[in-house]
């Protein structure tokens, strides 16, 4: 039996290094493939700063970040909110922030959780591989910050702020859900910036010049194709490429907001998996440390206390309930997959013939790499977990006066609940489906969007405000048509005049 690395609660840099080395060795044995780690110690105030810029290590300046900062600070000061123990950035090297207030146990836990759990997830998961470039993100953020502050100097803070406001309003509509994106790449960005500006402008000019009404064209009017030919879901991209009056620098700002949105898009789609994966591994690594005699009993007790806090799931009728806890669900599912692999029972063999009895490390690795929350749940949520969580689904139809319990955790309900829960994590069902439908290129240049409601869910009252922002970016009138189930336009919202 070897000696424990430390016995007290206080951490030192030497101890952190020792723990890191020990954890790294264990992680390697388990086959975790990670980016190199960069661990930064910060104070609580710096943590608040990091919160405000939504986890970006370097952010451009904007009032909304100030608002978040003030809000968090208020809550923190009044004790309404605890701070996260860590923040981890999807970059290479993978940056993890550790708070100086943490105990030694906490620091070790955070290293296992963030620097190895999240880190390997960032590196392995297909969404992150396809959508983000960990090598370039820091450089890109530096570039964005500098570019925007240069714009502020040149065009005034208000001008840039208004533009950013408008872009932020549409940031969630700046990704191609079904197209394979190009990862943000820094070198290319800088080299091509100038080139792109000129090129973009010429493209836009081309579009509008060609469509200046001419006699012949008028005769062919009926045959003119729709523009865009197919509806576009990436509104910001459409604006960047086609808005008639934007200056080159404004297009670049639109692009920056779009790219930052794209960078965060995978995180929004893999919360359950990402946290589940990280919790699963910190649990295993910590136990392994204990088994090797590297940590004391007290250390483990402290660890179990915070671990159970993190992965607990309050019932729906509890005061603490605020939706399904992604840590709890993710951790339970990862652990359950291991169980199915290692000691499957008859039910598991029926439900998961492929993985029951397989090598658990390979299976988990496969699951981590190739899924997102939605598909992960529909693939791996087992009947046993549904029973453990006592999941049930409720249908809320505003046309009916009562809610209906559509299924519960019984034989008939497993499939149904699994599908319903999977849908709950399907972003395209939870975010309104709004697409660029048409531009009146031959008339008043107005832009028409179409909203196709899912299950009759209406748009929130903020829509009009967003349309004003879109109007500002497009510079001409903007119309939003809402379709019903038969594809007929039932409702129209518009913003034709610029906001005063």
């Amino acid at each position: 039996m070897s000696k424990p690395i430390s016995t007290g609660a206080e951490w030192t840099f030497e101890l952190i290094e020792e723990y890191h080395a020990e954890i790294e060795a264990i992680a390697e044995e388990y086959g975790l493939d990670t980016y190199p780690n960069q661990i930064e110690l910060i104070t609580a105030e710096q943590m608040l700063d990091a919160y405000a810029s939504v986890g970006m290590p370097i952010g451009y300046s904007h009032w909304s970040f100030g608002k978040h900062f003030i809000k968090n600070e208020q809550q923190y000061r009044r004790g309404h909110m605890g701070l996260a123990y860590e923040i981890v950035i999807n970059s290479n090297p993978c940056i993890a922030y550790l708070m100086e207030e943490n105990t030694m146990m906490m620091q070790a836990l955070v290293i296992a959780h963030a620097s190895f759990g999240h880190n390997s997830f960032f590196k392995g998961n297909y969404l992150f591989r396809a959508w983000t470039d960990a090598e370039a993100i820091i450089d890109y953020l530096v570039f964005a910050k500098r570019f925007i502050s240069e714009c502020e100097e040149r065009y005034g803070i208000d001008e840039v702020e208004n533009l950013l406001d408008s872009c932020h309003a549409l940031q969630n509509h700046g990704v191609d859900r079904y197209k394979r994106p190009y990862p943000v790449s820094m070198r290319e960005e800088r080299e091509r910036l100038k080139e792109r500006e000129a090129y973009l402008q010429s493209q836009v000019n081309d579009l509008w010049y060609k469509t200046v009404p001419q006699k012949e064209a008028e005769e062919k009017e009926a045959k003119l194709p729709n523009f865009p030919e197919e509806p576009q879901e990436n509104i910001l991209y459409f604006i960047e490429k086609n808005a008639p009056l934007l200056e080159p620098w404004q297009r670049e700002v639109v692009r920056i907001v779009r790219k930052v949105g794209q960078y965060f898009y995978p995180q929004r789609q893999t919360q359950v998996m990402n946290e589940g994966w990280a919790c699963f591994w910190h649990y295993h690594i910590m136990n392994e440390l204990y088994d090797r005699g590297k940590v004391t009993d007290g250390f483990m007790l402290e660890f179990f206390q915070s671990h159970t806090n993190v992965v607990s799931q309050p019932d729906f009728d509890s005061d603490y309930f605020s939706g399904i806890n992604p840590y709890a669900l993710g951790y339970a599912m990862m652990t359950d997959i291991k169980r199915i692999c290692v000691e499957p029972d008859e039910e598991d063999r029926r439900w998961f013939p492929d993985i029951a009895g397989s090598n658990w490390q390979e299976t988990l690795d496969f699951a981590m790499r190739n899924f997102k929350d939605e598909s992960f749940i529909s693939q791996f949520l087992s009947p046993r977990l549904i029973r453990d969580f006592k999941l049930f689904s409720i249908l809320d139809d505003e046309e009916r006066s009562e809610l209906e319990v559509t299924s519960i955790h019984n034989d008939r309900g497993y499939q149904y609940i699994r599908q319903a829960l999977s849908n709950q994590y399907n972003l395209s069902m939870n975010e309104p489906n709004i697409q660029v439908y048409n531009v009146d290129v031959r008339g008043d240049r107005s832009l028409t969007l179409r909203h196709i409601p899912h299950n009759n869910v209406p748009l929130a009252a903020t829509t009009d405000e967003v349309l004003k922002h879109l109007r500002r970016l497009w510079s001409f009138g903007v119309v939003l048509e809402t379709l019903d189930a038969d594809g007929e336009v039932v409702n129209t919202a518009e913003c034709l005049q610029p906001a005063s």
């Binding site: 890191h20 700063d49 729906f316 409720i394 319990v405 559509t406 519960i408 299950n455 929130a460 922002h469």
Partner: protein
């Protein structure tokens, strides 16, 4: 291997810029909130910061979002009594719908409340205001000078010797001067050693070498540890500085006609003035002068809370002000401000005297003289005579306050930025 970086010494306040941006954007709302509060705020805590609330709907960031309604299905944990097909009454306050609505949609009625610091509070409060006549007198104000550090010199008085610098140059001089002899010494010692080991070598040469080695050692020893040449002195230069001291005279009528409410209004006005002056001057003295038929310099407590009766002769206070200035506050060294609060009562024959006193003796020495009349009645003689002064003196101002809510607007009126 991990890189371990200690970021704690880094500047905090990475968000300061963003916070400033936020304040800047909502300046109008914040200012409105502040001016609403100033009249309600108690006198003593005016020195602190302020909590400001802005309606949440003003600061939301809109996005396309789904609203409540339509057909939704949700999965919840912890089923206890439900069976498939059960019908449940729709809970009234969203209940199971999850806690999304209140926080995210921005529909909530709650205001966004946050603290601003004292400095930010004052900035907002006094935004667009400036000290009257500050610019005009700026040059003439440069009367004080201050010694500031200005590098190092080679000569000076012993008290200013910079020990570290002096010893450092002594060390480098010793090294430079000793370098050559030490090199020679090394060579000769090597040669001597060689000769001594070789049997039958030249004995005279050895002797000569020993002698030279001795000389060199002496030479090195004689290099002085410190020389006057090495001395470095801290250098100071005198730089003229604008006077950062101001004195504020508070003049108040305490005759029987001034009731406590009127005094409170006056007090608020003085507090605003005091805060305002502290923004521009490091030290602000306050002199309290109260008067009825006679004037007296008093302390703050007595100024505001003691009761007096009797008639009113304003000129007595003006004379006392003049005397105190002459004795203690020479206008060359002090920025002098005065504010007089009164209900407008004065002994009729005295008003012309006041006018003369101000015009001839006081106003030329003052940066600014503000007169506030706190009354609901018509103006009396004093007001008319003071009005005569307005034309000729731009450092004189007068305003009428009827009730508490007037204080702040009147104050702004006094110190409005002059558009040029």
């Amino acid at each position: 291997m991990a890189q371990l970086i200690d970021r704690r010494p880094n500047a905090k306040g990475k968000s300061t810029v963003n916070r400033q941006r936020f304040l800047r954007r909502y300046k109008t709302q914040i200012k409105k909130a502040i001016s609403e509060q100033i009249s309600e705020r108690s006198i003593t805590d005016i020195d602190g910061g302020e909590s400001v609330s802005i309606p949440t709907r003003d600061i939301t960031e809109p996005t396309f979002r789904n609203d409540q309604g339509g057909v939704r299905e949700g999965v919840y944990p912890g089923n206890k009594e439900f069976a498939q097909g059960d019908k449940i009454k729709r809970p009234i306050n969203q209940g199971q719908g999850g806690g999304r609505r209140a926080s995210d949609s921005g529909e909530g009625e709650d205001d966004f409340v946050f603290e601003i610091s004292r400095d930010e509070y004052l900035d907002m409060l006094f935004d667009d205001l400036e000290l009257p006549n500050l610019q005009k007198n700026q040059l003439s104000k440069m009367t004080k000078s201050k010694a500031v550090r200005a590098g190092f010199t080679n000569d000076g008085v012993p008290t200013n010797i910079n020990i570290v610098r002096s010893l450092r140059s002594a060390l480098s001089r010793r090294m430079a001067m000793g370098a050559e002899p030490r090199r020679q010494l090394r060579e000769m010692e090597a040669e001597l050693q060689e000769l001594e080991q070789k049997p039958g070598s030249d004995e005279t040469r050895c002797l000569a070498l020993r002698q030279e080695i001795e000389d060199l050692k002496n030479r090195i020893r004689r290099i002085p540890f410190i020389d006057t040449f090495d001395l470095r002195f801290n250098n100071f230069v005198q730089r003229p500085e604008p006077t950062s001291q101001a004195v504020m005279f508070c003049l108040m009528d305490v005759s029987g006609s001034m009731d406590q409410e009127t005094k409170d209004i006056a007090k608020r006005f003085y507090i605003l003035l005091y805060l305002f002056l502290t923004r521009s001057y490091r030290d602000v003295d306050v002199v309290y002068i109260r008067h009825h038929t006679q004037a007296k310099e008093v302390d703050e407590e007595e100024f505001f809370y003691s009761r007096e009766t009797g008639g009113t002769i304003v000129s007595s206070a003006l004379e006392l002000t003049r005397d105190i200035i002459a004795q203690r506050y020479p206008p060359t060294d002090w920025n002098i401000y005065a504010a007089q609060a009164s209900d407008g009562d004065n002994w009729n024959d005295d008003s012309p005297v006041c006018e003369q006193l101000l015009a001839k003796q006081l106003l030329p020495q003052l940066r600014y003289y503000a007169y506030v009349e706190i009354t609901r009645r018509d103006h009396q003689g004093l007001w008319a005579h003071y009005e005569n002064l307005l034309q000729a003196h731009d450092n004189f101002a007068m305003q009428h306050i009827r009730e508490q809510d007037d204080i702040y607007p009147v104050f702004r009126e006094f110190f409005r930025k002059q558009v040029q």
